[in-house]
Symmetry: C2
Subunit: 475 residues, 2 copies
């Protein structure tokens, strides 16, 4: 199989997943404990176990990770047991954090030590938070001082900082040697670190002088000195820099790797594009989850109570804001008692405001990904959104006004409908700009619950405007 051209990645992986799922599902009834599978007595089942094991051992660790994420709990436990233990560490690194915990819970300390002891320092640091303390201590015991220091350094940064995702596999040379010397030096390596697209050029004190792109090295005259070939204008990062900003820079400048230096410009590590791709993917996901009111990424097959934990907060907020909206309506009890049609029409005013507000807020949250909305720009946006709201309000308000008139034969209700829809769309536009801009100003993630918040405003606001106008003009 490994000699076959690998076409249609997604189809192949989907087929593998389907196959694995079928085998695992058929096997489970024959295994008393999926956490410790013993070959079943039934020859057919034993065959299945062998086939499943063989498939799993041929898969790339990243594919095993994807398969584990897409399997229900029991099948996941079985597959995890049957996967190649030599690749356990790689799988743990690839799998989503939510699923990683469930895998680690299934392993004893000795297995965990075996899985992680051969990792790079940055990889161990990435897993360390999820691992039992005694496992980390056990592994570090056998490492040298430099590696221990690297793990501690990486762990001292927050997950959203460059320091937490950089690695330490830098290849560096001096500026005053020839390209020929560099090529001979590289040939002494067993293998170069992943993604090596440039060699770092440093002085005697490891101060970064520039970078030597491999694709320049390869076309240079062997006698050229590194200092004449290297690029001095280097996009570099500090370990305390924001990871999302670093990822945006990778995207803007099409980088594959970039040096990380400390305040004295000393080279201490590097960032690679594969980590940045993960940051970009997670950034989009987190915004989407946060807008919908989910606290964090969820294991699709997590136990019910764990999912409830992840969702209760924004549901509670929503319940509170719905309660406020309910009190607004209650305040107009007498108006509704006199014109019951208002009760039927009021959700339309609230609903269109919520939808329009969500459109505005989504667009702005997205545009803020770069953190680039100054106050003056916010004013421009506000003006534009108010314009859009006015057009939509008059347009759709009139449509609903006409329909209301046809239904209830009451010009007053129709006119209140037009006015209330326009005003609520304006409210949605103003708050749709103000909420994310304000959250950003106070250093909060503008995506966080923004959908719940804008809906709260347009619900309560919509009811207040509509019933208020009706009370003033129709009663």
């Amino acid at each position: 199989m490994s000699q076959e051209p690998r076409y249609h990645e997604a189809e192949r992986l989907a087929a593998d997943l389907e196959r694995i799922h079928e085998l695992a599902e058929a096997l489970l009834p024959h295994l008393p404990d999926e956490h410790a599978p013993v070959p079943p007595a039934l020859p057919e089942a034993a065959d299945r176990l062998n086939t499943l094991t063989a498939i799993l051992h041929e898969l790339h660790p990243a594919d095993v990770a994807t398969v584990l994420e897409h399997l229900p709990q029991k099948e996941r436990a079985l597959v995890w047991r049957l996967a190649n233990p030599e690749e356990d560490g790689d799988v743990l690194l690839e799998v989503s954090e939510a699923v990683r915990e469930s895998l680690i819970e299934d392993m004893d300390d000795a297995e965990l030590v075996a899985a992680v002891e051969d990792m790079e320092a940055d990889e161990l640091a990435e897993l360390a938070d999820s691992l039992p303390q005694q496992v980390v201590a056990e592994v570090l015991k056998d490492w040298d001082d430099e590696e221990r220091a690297q793990v501690q350094a990486a762990m001292s940064y927050r997950d959203d900082q460059v320091g937490a995702i950089m690695d330490f596999e830098t290849v560096s040379v001096r500026a005053d040697v020839s390209c020929e010397v560099v090529l001979r030096y590289l040939r002494r390596f067993d293998s170069l670190p992943d993604h090596t697209d440039k060699i770092f050029v440093v002085d005697d004190h490891d101060i970064l002088q520039g970078v030597l792109p491999i694709r320049k090295l390869l076309v240079s005259d062997p006698d050229d000195l590194v200092e004449n070939v290297m690029a001095r204008d280097v996009v570099r990062f500090r370990p305390e820099d924001d990871a999302e900003e670093a990822a945006a820079a990778f995207e803007r400048y099409d980088l594959v790797t970039a040096p990380v230096t400390d305040h004295n410009h000393k080279l201490i590590g590097r960032l690679t594009v594969d980590e940045m791709v993960d940051v970009i993917r997670e950034e989009g996901e987190t915004d989407m989850l946060n807008m919908a009111g989910l606290q964090e990424e969820e294991d699709l097959f997590a136990p019910v109570l764990r999912s409830v934990q992840n969702r209760w907060f924004w549901l509670a907020v929503n319940l509170f804001t719905a309660f406020v909206a309910s009190r607004v309506i209650n305040h107009f009890e007498h108006t509704i008692a006199q014109i019951v049609a208002l009760a039927a029409l009021m959700p339309i005013v609230a609903g269109i405001g919520g939808n329009s507000g969500n459109q505005t807020i989504t667009m702005i949250v997205r545009a803020m990904a770069m953190g680039q909305l100054s106050g003056i720009q916010a004013m421009h946006l506000l003006k534009k959104e108010i314009g859009v709201a006015l057009v939509n309000g008059v347009l759709w308000g009139s449509v609903m006004g006409v329909i209301s008139y046809l239904l209830y034969h009451n010009t007053g209700i129709a006119l209140v409908m037009v006015a209330a829809m326009t005003l609520n769309l304006l409210l949605a536009a103003v708050l749709g700009v103000m909420i994310p801009v304000t959250m950003e100003k106070f250093g909060k993630d503008p995506a966080l619950g923004s959908s719940v918040l804008i809906t709260a405003v347009t619900d309560s606001g919509g009811f207040l405007i509509f019933l208020g106008l009706a009370t003033v003009f129709l009663i």
Copy 2:
């Protein structure tokens, strides 16, 4: 400046943007036409023009693109005029599609030809849809047959296919030569293509045999034959493959470049990670925009009417579904007339259903990014979501039941509230799974308007359940 270490990318860019915005804003009153700026008479203003021009000429084209995206229309036109014309092509490639159109509208044919005539075939193909036909024809006239064929090939694929984003800058060697020969061959290039991390190994008919990673080439014995060093197990793509699936494969296997081959395994191009990063970024953005009911990415500073165009469709859908909900309420007019408190309580039932449904649907849309939810998994998810809905329904339903009792001193209303909230959360859970699964089954993007759809169901459903139960048990 170019010799200074470049730290804190995002801060630097934000500062540049602020500076450019201030200069442009101060300049506009002194320029009769921002599309054709002439040096102003006032020395102070003339200085500002020079400063602004100098700043823009120092910026990386990708930074100029970012700045343009974040400036209001008039300032954008001015900045675009002052930017280095030699980099116009690169800027056009980097800006978002929405903004690209406004920039191209500002250029005449001669300027456009100058901007794009030196592009690679894949780059011209990317822009061709936005360019006037006569410009593309003019440019192609001076290109050779091979390049023309490449442009046509690239343009024959949809934007979401590998063929539309691959490039043609492949470096290839034969399997039966030594590494030393390869190194000498590479040295004859003026420069290697961007992102070259592997050399493609082909036979006499350009059939792909394997790849020779540069980092292997560099550590190999010069006398080793390529066929003994190259990797034969190659992740490869076909031009008709889905770009998002290719991007997912790049992410899973940490690729920098990958070959694109036709059905005969003939090498025809390559994919690079920088294009894949764009695909991943856009995928997340599109999902987010689609869920909120925006048809496509919007130029933040687009004219009002263009924004209205982008948003009207889902607003209309929302208006229609809100109208349906309104008719549901209208059906229970007599019930509400008897117990007006119901009008105040019903939005709570609808609201919590909408929020919970959005949580479920967001999680599933996100998980579907890989297209990996089989029917059996959908059943597992459905069971889990129903469990979560039951817990939340009983929990929050009881909270609201107690509060309703305290407000209205009516056990009937309180019990109807508990039952309606639980049932609407169950409805939200079922449809939150069913809507995206069904859309996926029919080949639709599961994110498309999913937020509007689930809210429609939980609104109408919530009103029907709550008012229906009230009519049966309380009247």
